[in-house]
Amino acid sequence: MNLIRTESLSVSLDGVTILDDVSFSLAKGEIVGLVGPNGAGKTTVLKTLMGLLKAERGSVEVFGKPLGSFSRREIARKLGYLPQETEIHWPLVVERIVALGRVPYLMPWEDLGEDDERIIADAMRATDTLPLRKRRVDRLAGGEKALVMIARLLAGEPEILLADEPVQGLDPSHSLQVMEFLRNVAGNGRGVLVVLHDLALASRFCHRILLLHGGKLMASGRPEEVFSPANLKTSYHIEAKYGNGDGFYVVPWRRIAGGSDHAKK
Amino acid sequence: MSAPGVSKAGPSRSEPRGSSPQRIVSINLCTDELLLDLVGPERVAAVTKFCGDPKVSTVAARAGGIQKITADIEHVRDRDPDLILGGRFNGRETFRFFRKTGVPVLLFDVPKSFEDIYRDIRRLAEAVGEPEKGDAIIKSMQAELAELNGVSHRFREMVTDPVRAIFFQSGGYVPGAETFENAIMEAAGLSNVALELGIRGYGRMGLEELIKARPDVIIFSSEQRDSKTVRGEVLDHPAIKKALPRATMVTIPTLYLNCGSPASVEAVRILVRETAV
């Protein structure tokens, strides 16, 4: 069952076309990796799916219905978004940060109920952040902070998770922890769309890959299909080595000349 | 230090005595009023812009054909004056200029008593060559005040306690000893509450202090009471009427309070009429 389906999606900002004719789908139980060079439009895809940007042409359907037919709160309940850069303006404790995930479910005058508290606790438990609950978030290490942000995402009980580079700056252990977590979440009947720069992680954990290049969807399919040498050369101007230990994986190996800007040294 | 009002200057610029200036220019409303009481309009070359406004000037009726100017040097020079009258604070540059050119300049302070007014009238009468007229005005004022004093005196004999009054101004300011308002109140036979509190010059009383003093009469200046100002709001506070239901409220038109002149007697008359009858 398709959680998300886009059809010929085109998005422009200030007259510049960011996305051009992008069509893809996200099914239940899938974790899909969204990859592509810098500036390819990956963040724009997530923001558009979240309803934060308007599509110029094309359509976005969520649960079979057009995105526009949902209210802002309904979207906030069904989709969870983790932006690329973490902004935390006040040194709240972890528990409060995670509790913010419940915002779409509460009226301005309502307080957190028992159910809300339980969901928050579950989210923290699932991300191994429960012991941190009373710690101030500005005093956490990078890895712990990332997990807290994911716990916040989870506390909203979204059926679709949109994560923009959730492992940026994390050490290998935490990176793997986050990716494992996301895959499990998908496995529990949700859909996950995650933007990644680390192709090794993408190939390792994602069921499918969407390769975005210059605003167009260059390739879509299983990692072994999308990460072909031709695709990697055209989009990233790189050469990779492949492996098949426990499953297919790809490791970027060397830069190559594929355009006018990179000369082979 | 020279006496107040005497122009400080070089040898040949003393006060004109026995002369009869024909082109007198006055650049202060209060000197306008004194002047037009003493001489006819044909001898006045210019007065202030306020002079013709009946809301602020007591001699507006007589100011009809006279040129109205502002106090700056150009305008005054245009009128070719042979005597200039002014107050102490406005027009210093003008005064300095004309003293240098040899035109006599006469400055007047704000009067603090009727004696001060009499002295000013005498000075000005001498300067414009009308000493008899000046004396006549003074005598007339004294006679009116004596009559009013008689009325209030008789009233006070009937009443055992002195009639205690306070002049309540915007922002809670009250005139105490050595103010013109105090002189008017005393001339009307009223006992100024501010003096009980030892206030000299202009002091301040909060609303509760005012009520605590329990004055018999509260005096207001009409412009302050009627016009809308931020600081004037306290004059209309509902607590005053509730706390002092039997107090007499008198509003004197600001017109009669602006300057010390023969018209100031009117202020005394109003007070006596409202409080001693």
């Binding site: 995930g101 | 809670g172 607590a239």
Partner: protein, 353 residues
Amino acid sequence: MNRSDTRSPRPVSQGADCHTRCGISGDGVPGWLLYSVLGTLLAAAFLGSLSLGTLKYSLWDAIRDPSSDLAFIFWDIRLPRAVLGLLVGATLGLAGAAMQGFLRNPLAEPGILGVTGGAALGAVAVFYTGLVAVFPMMLPVGGIAGAFVSVLLLYLFAGTLASVQTLILAGVAINVIAFAGTSLMLNLVKDPYAVLDIVFWQMGSLADRSFRHVVLILPFVLAGWGLLLWDGRALEALSLGETTASSLGISLRRLRARVVLGTALAVGASVAVCGSIGFVGLIVPHLMRPLVGYRPGRLLGASALGGAILLLGSDIAVRLVPSLVELKLGVVTSLVGAPFFLLLIFQMRKKIV
């Protein structure tokens, strides 16, 4: 390399280290404790305000028998003053907390950012153009209009994610404009006492107000409070930045409209009746923040209470000085607030660097 916390050097609120030394947990003081203490302090300040003054009377008698001789002291003098102190103080605290939450900057407050100045200009303009004679309600409307324009200008100059410098500069600019407007009016107005009037107005006062004033501003203040208190949850969501807040279902456009309008209504009306009183909106949220666990939503209510307490307290201080020297309320709050402000900036410089 750790994931960066913020996009630009953002001053994290002060008091961070002091409160752990004091033993308060990161999540602040429990709600019931905080509000009962604040409530008690407020009741004490309110009662103090009712009891202080030159005239002596019995509070109990005045309440029991409104027609008794000395009851007017309570009903016409003390009670309006205390109620105004509560309304205006709560407004300033609340508006300060709301602005800080919305702009994500602990230095924001209506006075520093020019909202109070603009409101004062609006109110004085209504007075001196004679509009106030047309309809008494014109006065708070003038204040509200002035405040509204100021907040809009602020938003135009600084945007929502401005740095400390930009924000303060915007506030300076707006204050300068308000001052210029006032000076212009002084030039054009015929009343010679206008200068004195306006100068004293700028200093703020609760003295000699009557119930007329309370009634005049009450609907606007309550409306403003409603709009601001509504935003608690949205401001909490904003802790994670605009993008996340939007993704959580918050309409930023509507939030901005509510904060702008709520601030303009409540602060505008308050200033129209009491003049410019500054720094309350800076000091109170700062003190309350650690006590509410830095949560912008909880900060709103706590700051309202704290603001009322601070202003009533300052008004009591004003009245303890003999009245021949009319000490203005705004002067007292500035005497406390300005050094406080400098101290804050000083601390922030160290943290940013």
